[in-house]
């Protein structure tokens, strides 16, 4: 029982990171109907932003650990950097291809992904780096004998706050409503005076900054980072987005949590060998039996 609670908690913590990445996939798909395969690498850039910001900031602290405020500042910094990266990539690379066939943009996204991965190796070096200990991992909660560390808790809470924040932006603000309008019908949206390009840019900024935050949270739990670290989490988050129903925001969050939990259970109870297989097994199953995903539905409009 103790171990089970621990596993559930670890699973949720890992899942919340997948969820944050999956949100970017699903939002961008919702607006442009294409999978931004470079999204996992934005997550990597987030982690490296944290690494370098950590070096710059964390030495200021005496204990060797940054304060909570400092960690927050580093995370926000990484979000800004990734937001800018997403904005720039969209403007420079995807926008000129807006009217091209979807396959062209998809292949271009893979190109951007490779560029970031190997550009990263060139700039950061190919060797794994150890992510700065932004926060000390203290055992905080003792639940029926299960010891829960503070860092996984911080990850879960932070991801939760970000997801609630995103939900508020999408559902309650004007730009969020415009995002939903553009996602439904860009032509109609432009006839209402909505600047589609601005909405697309905004979507890339938000999606990429969430991936940036995920990079920092990942670094807290798994403090070894390298330029290729985005590949697997990126693919798994993509599976999470498909599992939840691509284009569906709550679906991406749910999908991320499910993948995180299953992966942790498989690692803990079956064998770590199958850890990475589980996500792709799910992808095959979901595509076979429910291609619209758990929460996705075919939209029916009365005429």
């Amino acid at each position: 029982m103790t171990e089970f609670i621990q596993q559930v908690f670890n699973g949720l913590s890992l899942g919340s990171i997948y969820a944050l990445i999956a949100l970017g996939y699903t939002m961008i798909y919702g607006i442009l109907r294409f999978i931004n395969f470079a999204h996992g690498d934005v997550f990597m850039i987030g982690a490296f932003s944290g690494y370098y910001l950590g070096i710059i900031f964390a030495f200021a602290s005496v204990s060797g650990f940054a304060s909570l405020g400092m960690a927050l500042l580093i995370m926000i910094g990484a979000m800004v950097i990734c937001g800018l990266l997403g904005f720039t990539v969209e403007k420079l690379v995807y926008k000129p291809l807006r009217k091209s066939p979807k396959l062209t943009i998809l292949i271009t996204a893979i190109g951007v992904s490779l560029f970031l991965e190997y550009g990263g190796q060139l700039v950061f070096g190919a060797d794994p780096k150890s992510f700065p200990s932004l926060l000390e991992n203290k055992p905080v909660v003792n639940l029926a004998g299960a010891v829960i560390g503070s860092n996984p808790l911080v990850v879960l809470v932070t991801a939760g706050i970000l997801m609630v924040g995103l939900r508020l932006i999408v559902m309650k603000t004007k730009i969020g409503t415009a995002m939903r309008a553009v996602s439904y019908n860009p032509t109609a949206a432009s006839l209402m005076g909505i600047n589609i390009n601005a909405v697309i840019s905004f979507t890339f900024i938000i999606g990429s900054s969430l991936a940036g935050a995920a990079g920092i949270l990942y670094g807290l739990n798994y403090p070894s980072i390298d330029p290729l670290m985005g590949i697997l989490p990126g693919l798994k988050a993509f599976v999470a987005a498909v599992l939840g129903g691509i284009g569906n925001i709550p679906g991406a969050a749910l999908g991320g949590m499910i993948i995180g939990l299953l992966e942790t259970f498989v690692t803990g109870y079956i064998s770590p060998t199958y850890r990475d297989a589980i996500a792709f097994g799910i992808l095959i199953l979901i595509l076979l039996f429910k291609p619209t995903g758990l929460l996705g539905k075919k939209e029916i409009e009365k005429v």
């Binding site: 939903r180 439904y184 019908n185 006839l191 005076g193 909505i194 029916i300």
Partner: protein
């Protein structure tokens, strides 16, 4: 208020619009009638610049050349289109659809007043304010589409086939409301319709479009009694 000069639109090698000119004076209802495929929708789409007009075309609105202005800028200038098939945001509530109509407006304090005005014209929408747009009937969606455009505080409306796929009785109501909007707000309207009878009954002046060319124009009353129009579009044999 709106002047279309020598408008041409090509879809690849196909010349959909072959150089037409339309003049819409302020506060008038002008109609563009014609059969399916004549190019009516293409004309409106080219005016709103969601379809590119060919070289040499000119669209003047309020004396300014808007031919190559992005679609959202044209709305900003007060020229708003109610598109064919209504294009309601089915995933957004009625209220959110109306909010999107008011997307560019900064005068939030006047929204309540404008909503009251809209609900006075279309009381049905008030009952459905929290419902997703996709759950409305065709007629209600058309009301919402017109209201959504009105929320942008336009000076001129482009209406594309407001009667399309709507029960005849509701169509009549909607056309009465169009006239009401024209009269009470002094709204300039360019109305595109397949239902020539209905369109000519509310318009001041009409153009008849046939395979991308204007073949006839004149005051609506004259067109109504023109034997050629009666034969081709008003179902007379």
């Amino acid at each position: 208020m709106l002047k279309v000069e020598n408008l041409r639109v090509n879809y690849g090698a196909i010349n959909a619009i072959k150089g037409i000119s339309i003049d819409v004076p302020e506060k008038s209802i002008i109609t563009l009638i014609g059969a399916n495929g004549a190019g009516k929708t293409t004309t409106l789409r080219a005016i709103s610049n969601i379809v590119k007009a060919a070289e040499g075309s000119k669209v003047l609105y309020d004396g300014k050349d808007i031919t190559s202005l992005p679609a959202h800028k044209i709305v900003e200038m007060g020229l708003c289109q109610v598109p064919e098939g209504r294009l309601i945001f089915a995933n957004l509530t009625v209220k959110e659809n109306l909010d999107m109509g008011a997307y560019l407006r900064k005068d939030k304090e006047n929204f309540a007043k404008d909503l009251d005005f809209i609900f006075a014209i279309f009381p049905r929408l008030k009952e459905r304010i929290k419902q997703p747009g996709g759950t409305l009937s065709g007629g209600e969606q058309q009301m919402l589409a017109i209201s959504r455009a009105l929320m942008s505080k336009p000076k001129m409306l482009l209406l594309d086939e407001p009667s399309l796929g709507i029960a005849p009785l509701l169509t009549k109501t909607i056309f009465e409301k169009i006239v009401e909007i024209n009269k009470t707000l002094g709204m300039t309207i360019l109305l595109v319709e397949q239902n020539a009878n209905l369109a000519l009954s509310v318009a001041n002046y009409g153009y008849v479009l046939e395979t991308g060319r204007i073949i006839l124009e004149g005051p609506a009353k004259e067109l109504e009694s023109n034997p050629e129009v009666r034969k081709a579009y008003l179902g007379e044999t």
